[in-house]
């Protein structure tokens, strides 16, 4: 890559760390973050003082304190003071802001992290309160019911079957066997999965992600600094995110127009990908996202197991990017695409395109 390329193509992931995802972590959110941030810094071979900008992603409502995110500053090492910001969003959007900030060219290294503990509360209660406060939240609509609505629409449109959903789950659990940070893994037979009872018809319990606690951190560096820090940096070729109208009744929930747009804007041209990590929170969403991005049948999707194997909300999207980057850095992949999502039924989507040299 030419040194005079525009800044956007000149930034790479050079180090990262994530915690295990567990159902019910004893450490607080910041206590999960502290070792993860420290490990990412070690992995990148930098000192804290090398970091020119930090961005954090989290959600106050997960732990219930109106300023819960402030504690996470303790993991960022905010003394002496640091240049720092916070998004009320998954760590993937924190990374987007830090990636953007790096492009100004006055700093060389940035840290982004995401953290969340879903275990202290009931996600059905919390996420009902993310919906339209007049028309939806008072109905107590929970994310799993919404996902069921989406799954049924997909079946009705002839785009997928319950067997397809079960196949996604079996693949996820099998892939997760090699992921030490995953919660759910193992060998499952599709027919056996289909014999399980419905949870929110047409979804079964295994079509729904586990409740997870985890944290993830990533270090990015610019140009020569990236090459100096990492033998094989994961270059960020493009990153973009797009949102759609909120109400499920206003959009085609069997597709994801904003994912298609974000992938195009991130520079994905339909070419071959060695690895794809998707925030397919519910099994039908993997089918929707593959179609939206235009992935063929043979693509290696969610080798980590994806969100069905571990779903630490507010970290899960950035974990997708880290899982994709890790395979570039270790040389097993050369071109990767990672995806994060926010809002009900894939309302908002982020795509990050990564490449080796």
């Amino acid at each position: 890559m030419a040194a005079n390329d525009r800044g956007a193509t000149d930034i790479a992931i050079v180090g990262f760390a994530q915690s295990q995802s567990v159902r019910d972590a004893a450490p607080s959110e910041v206590q999960l973050l502290v070792p993860v941030v420290a490990d990412a810094i070690t992995a990148a071979g930098i000192e804290r003082s090398d970091i020119g900008f930090t961005c954090a992603g989290s959600c106050d409502y997960l732990t219930g304190g109106p300023f819960a995110f402030v504690s996470n500053l303790e993991a960022a090492g905010a003394w002496p003071p640091i240049s720092e910001s916070h998004v009320e969003a998954d760590g993937a959007w924190a990374m987007y802001e830090a990636w953007m900030r790096l492009q100004e060219g006055d700093i060389d290294v940035a840290l982004a992290f995401g953290s969340g503990k879903s275990s202290p509360s009931n996600p059905a209660e919390v996420w009902a309160q993310q919906l339209d406060p007049y028309y939806l939240a008072p109905l107590g609509v929970d994310p799993v019911s919404l996902a069921g609505i989406q799954a049924q629409a997909l079946i009705d449109a002839g785009k997928a079957t319950e067997r397809d959903f079960a196949t996604v789950v079996a693949d996820s659990r099998r892939n997760a066997k090699s992921n030490p940070n995953a919660q759910l893994s193992g060998d499952y037979d599709v027919d056996a999965l289909l014999a399980e009872p419905y949870y929110r018809r047409p979804l079964r319990k295994h079509d729904v992600p586990p409740i997870s606690d985890a944290a993830v951190a990533v270090i990015m560096a610019r140009g020569d600094k990236a090459r100096e820090l990492c033998e094989r940096p994961a270059w960020i070729r493009g990153m973009d995110h797009r949102i759609e109208a909120h109400q499920p009744g206003l959009r085609d929930i069997t597709s994801s127009a904003s994912t298609t747009l974000a992938a195009r804007k991130a520079g994905y041209d339909g070419g071959p990908l060695d690895v794809v990590e998707l925030s397919s929170t519910f099994s039908p969403q993997e089918i929707i996202l593959k179609n939206a991005i235009g992935l063929g049948a043979g693509v290696n999707v969610n080798p980590s197991g994806g969100p069905l194997a571990a779903n630490p909300i507010m970290a899960v999207g950035l974990i997708r990017i880290v899982e994709a980057a890790s395979r570039i850095i270790d040389g097993t992949a050369n071109r990767a695409l990672a995806h994060a999502t926010s809002g009900p039924l894939l309302q908002q989507n982020l795509v990050c395109l990564l490449e080796g040299e």
């Binding site: 106050d60 402030v70 640091i82 953007m100 109208a245 909120h246 904003s258 926010s342």
Partner: protein, 382 residues
């Protein structure tokens, strides 16, 4: 190459205790539509939207920008939500500007808001539990420490309150307008969080503020004078550790020095023509004058005492009436930037300071640990 960047449209709602006449989206659109009208743009011209607000518990909606996305014109666009406590309005503008400075997007809508009447901010600040000491209770011992250290007389706090409330009377968007307020009335108002009296405290408001940030090309097309961004900075520090000095937080010192350096300012008191500082309690005016090295140690209160920070003074602070007169928490930081922009654009109306070429905007949040600052001018950076 970094792009030059300017604010070309500013819009505020009328701030009130309750804005029961609008939905939440309606509140945001009131500010957004005014900003678009100011810039003579439509939402089609906007490439990305950045939204800021303080804790979601204030309105009881988790990540409310998700349900607001289509109403604020973000459909098929990037939408980013910033949350840095009370400084968030300032941080939101800074993040919006980064989209433009890097050339990722040409024109970005930033909007910050709070509709505190949907819930109860005191409840929110107390984490929904009894015995909350509130922001006033948390900051009061620090203000007392400032008073002790600086030897400032009691009436300095009252003077700030009188000045800001009278300034607000000239600002059509301000919440509290008290043209007839006197030192006596402030002094006799109930003590809420000793040493802070009722009239020395900010109200709880509903409102929103929007600002349109664009590149040089956009600024050239703008129908009204742009406010050029000459410096932007954010700093954060730990809120609590033994030996921390929250009266003069180091993050505030460094944030100020960073924007001064970017803007080529070596003597802020003489080179800056006016400032909009985040002053939710009267004593924070002298505290920030010193905390950002505009005044020397123990000198900030003297700038108040001599009338230097008055609308007609040598260094006017908060001609808009400030946070003391209007506080929709999430919006307040952006209002500082918006008001500073209007001053350099010469569009501040009745509270315009004569001949402003360089303005300072500042927002802070948390335990005086988050800072977002900017320097705006009426001419582009060289």
């Amino acid at each position: 190459m970094n792009e030059r960047c300017a604010i070309v449209g500013v819009g505020q709602t009328h701030f009130k205790k309750r804005r029961d006449d609008v939905s939440i989206a309606g509140l945001l659109r009131e500010a957004i539509d005014r900003a678009l009208a100011d810039a003579e743009l439509t939402l089609r011209d906007i490439d990305a939207v950045v939204i800021g607000k303080a804790p979601d518990a204030f309105e009881g909606i988790v990540m409310p920008e998700i349900f607001l996305a289509d109403a604020v014109g973000a459909t098929n666009k990037p939408l980013l939500r910033v949350h840095t406590a009370g400084s968030v309005g300032g941080s939101t503008l800074v993040v919006g500007a980064h989209h433009v400075i890097t050339g990722i997007h040409g024109t970005v809508l930033t909007v910050a808001w709070e509709k505190q009447s949907e819930g109860n901010a005191q409840w929110g600040l107390a984490g929904g539990r009894s015995g909350g000491i509130g922001a006033g209770g948390a900051f009061a011992p620090w203000m007392r420490a400032y008073i002790q250290q600086s030897g400032a007389p009691d009436y300095i706090g009252w003077m700030v309150a009188v000045k800001d409330r009278r300034n607000a009377a000239k600002n059509p968007y301000a919440h509290l307008k008290m043209p007839d307020i006197t030192l006596e009335k402030v002094k006799e108002s109930p003590m809420l969080w000793d040493p802070i009296r009722f009239h020395e405290s900010c109200p709880s408001s509903d409102g929103a503020c929007a600002a349109i940030v664009t590149n040089e090309e956009g600024a050239k097309r703008a129908p009204r004078p742009p406010a050029w961004i000459h410096g932007l900075s954010v700093r954060s520090e730990l809120g609590q550790f033994p030996g921390r000095n929250p009266v003069r937080p180091q993050a505030g010192v460094e944030c100020a020095h960073d924007v001064y350096r970017q803007a080529g300012i070596t003597d802020p008191r003489s080179q800056i023509d006016m400032a909009e500082l985040y002053v939710p309690f009267s004593w924070y005016e002298p505290m920030w004058l010193e905390g950002h090295d505009i005044a020397g140690p123990g000198e900030g209160w003297k700038m108040v005492d001599t009338g230097e920070t008055d609308l007609g003074g040598a260094f006017p602070v908060n001609p808009s009436g400030g946070v003391l007169s209007t506080n929709a928490i999430g919006a307040s930081g952006m209002v500082r930037f918006a008001e500073a922009a209007q001053q350099v654009r010469g569009l501040a109306g009745e509270h315009q300071v004569d001949g402003v070429r360089t303005a300072l905007a500042q927002a802070y949040g948390g335990a005086a640990q988050y800072f977002a600052m900017g320097v705006l001018r009426n001419t582009p950076p060289e």
